[in-house]
């Protein structure tokens, strides 16, 4: 079947690059979800090359970290991965406490484990929901968002903020769990699995969704390791690595849960891993919520890091002094002149902070190891050879959060 004009059929004399055209994907595009840009080189509808461009949301978070105290900076970590701010709060203060050498109370570490896992559920819901949305499964996205709303509601009851929680403090948390919060989490754990079943029925074996994601954006195990992929992206490629198991922090060692892996390494495998991780997180939350240790949530006055309770402030001299010292500038913590790195398994991958202390109560250097950055670097190799419509599927399955990418 030849409909080409004989005069135009001299394709051999035309350079192949002439057929290629450039397409700017983003920075303002509904399917990037955040502000990032990809310059695609296309041959018809096929992606020949992709050049990711970032920095549109660069706000100098690491520079700000050198000027805000350890407690103030938690507000900035909220804005890194704003899909799961709680996980960032926990990661930041976990790193600070490692530098300062503070051991949390058992109650606090269980509370932080619960909120971090709730954050993981809400992050995975959005991430998978967005993949669904981008490849045309709008209902799935609404189911996911409705459940995220329930988690927001829990966080609002807990600390007054829905999105930017700023929940943790050095050596503790801003608000202890109340019976109402515990009840709401119990309700969520009880009701959510039914919705999750519905969601899986909607999408996991949906022919259109499977066709759009299976075999698209395949990342091999060797590539995943060589390119420093972590989290669900690496686990979907068969890297059995999870900081929660390898290097248990908080109370993860006390709970029974599995690491979810797949071997295919494509967008569909990443979707499946995230879905399975939601169930595992639910298991952790359901175990933890019934076993929250009694006792204070914050470390004691003698540690001189967390603000004492109002009752202590008004009725004991130690409490008054401690409150005063912590509230005054340059009188708070004793920070060693050392540096340390602490990693947590954030929903997106390994989120770590490399903090250098120089005696002041602000970090001398607050490096954030953002999982999104390394995952976005994977993008060109994953998309090459696929069609333009697969760009959104791959981008969604990597779960790139530009605020964390650029910081």
């Amino acid at each position: 079947m030849s409909i080409a004009h004989p005069e135009l059929d001299a394709s051999k004399t035309v350079r192949s690059e002439d057929y290629l055209w450039k397409l700017n994907f983003g920075p303002q595009h509904p399917a990037t979800h955040t502000t990032l840009r990809i310059v695609l080189t296309l041959d018809g509808e096929r992606v020949v090359d992709a050049m990711p461009e970032m920095g549109y949301l660069h706000s100098g978070f690491e520079k700000i970290g050198e000027h805000l105290t350890f407690n103030q900076y938690v507000t900035v970590t909220d804005r890194m991965n704003y899909i799961s701010p709680m996980a960032n709060n926990v990661a930041w203060h976990g790193a600070v406490e490692k530098l300062l050498g503070i051991t949390l109370t058992p109650r606090c570490s269980t509370i932080r484990t619960i909120v971090a896992e709730l954050a993981r559920i809400s992050d995975h819901l959005l991430s998978n929901g967005a993949v669904g949305l981008d490849v045309g499964a709008f209902t799935f996205f609404l189911y996911a968002f409705y459940q995220r709303e329930v988690i927001y509601d829990i966080f609002e009851t807990l600390c007054g903020a829905r999105f930017t929680n700023s929940y943790t403090r050095v050596g503790g948390v801003s608000h202890d769990f109340t019976p109402l919060v515990v009840q709401k989490i119990r309700d969520f754990v009880k009701n959510f699995p039914r919705t999750l079943d519905d969601m899986e029925r909607l999408l996991t074996r949906n022919r259109i969704f499977v066709d759009r994601t299976k075999g698209v954006g395949v990342l091999s195990r060797a590539e995943a390791i060589a390119r420093s992929a972590t989290g669900p992206v690496a686990r979907a490629s068969g890297v059995t690595r999870d900081v929660r198991k390898d290097d248990p922090y908080l109370s993860y060692a006390d709970f029974d849960f599995n690491i979810c892996c797949a071997s295919a390494g494509d967008c569909y495998a990443r979707y499946l891993v995230r879905m399975a991780e939601i169930r595992e997180s639910l298991r952790i939350v359901s175990q933890a919520i019934e076993n929250i240790p009694e006792g204070p949530a914050n470390v004691g006055i003698d540690q001189r890091t967390a603000l004492p309770s109002k009752q202590q402030v008004y009725s004991t001299i130690e409490g008054t002094i401690s409150h005063f010292e912590l509230s005054m500038a340059h009188r708070g913590f004793e920070v060693p002149c050392e540096e340390s790195y602490a990693a947590t398994e954030a929903p997106n991958g390994e989120l770590g902070f490399y903090i250098v202390g120089d005696g002041r109560e602000a970090a001398y250097r607050a490096r954030c190891r953002p999982p999104s950055l390394l995952h976005f670097a994977l993008f060109p190799s994953l998309i090459k050879g696929h069609t333009l419509s697969d760009v959104v599927a791959v981008l969604g399955s990597l779960n790139i959060i530009a605020a964390e990418l650029d910081r």
Binding site: M54, G55, H58, G60, E62, K63, I64, E66, H67, K98, L99, G101, E223, I225, A226, R227, S228, A229, T230, V239, T240, R241, K245, D246, D247, C337, E338, E339, S340, Y341, A343, E350, G352, Y354, V356, D358, G359, Y364, R365, R367, R369, L373, L374, F376, A377, D406, R407
Partner: protein, 169 residues
């Protein structure tokens, strides 16, 4: 990868045996090794073969205002093993006027953007990097903003950006 499961001390010992006396220290369970810039590439490639196959992060610290710091910059390489989960931190100290280390992109592809970020924000050059452009700051930018002598408010670059008018766009 024959020695993948060997404990961190064995790796350290063989590292010391091969590369001579290196300063090692431990803080909060984290083992750090200080190497010379010219030995960095060999050490990293040796560690990669000894089981530390994951490059977790490459970052830098500017010690300009750090009390008693003998060097201006510190490069930090965080390594981990995907098999054992062990971690190792490598540190290299550099000085002005030409802070430069060999690029490790040939060992780990993932180092590409991490090194670009360090170049962008600290101005440390990576020799042999395939594409050493700025990562987060705009191309026209001349300073390296995470250096300690760069003020947090900036130097007014924001007001001096070329303005694209409607006629030119």
């Amino acid at each position: 990868m024959t020695s993948t499961s060997s404990p961190i001390n064995d790796v350290l010992e063989s590292l010391l045996g091969r590369f001579g006396p290196l300063t090692t220290s431990t803080f909060r369970g984290q083992t750090r090794v200080v190497v010379q810039p010219d030995a960095l590439f060999e050490v990293l490639s040796f560690l990669k073969d000894s089981g530390f196959d994951l490059l977790v992060d490459v970052t830098s610290v500017d010690y300009l205002e750090y009390r008693g710091a003998p060097h201006r910059y510190g490069m930090v390489y965080l390594l981990a093993s995907t098999e054992t989960g062990q971690r190792l931190t490598l540190r290299v100290f550099l000085d002005d006027p030409n802070p430069c280390v060999p690029s490790v992109v040939s060992l780990w592809e993932g180092a590409n953007w991490l090194e670009r970020e360090v170049w962008d924000l600290f101005g440390i050059r990576f020799e042999g990097h395939p594409d050493l452009r700025r990562l987060v700051m705009p191309e026209e930018f001349t300073a390296h903003p995470l250096r300690k002598d760069y003020p947090m408010q900036g130097r007014g670059e924001r007001h001096n950006f070329p303005i694209i008018t409607r006629d030119h766009s």
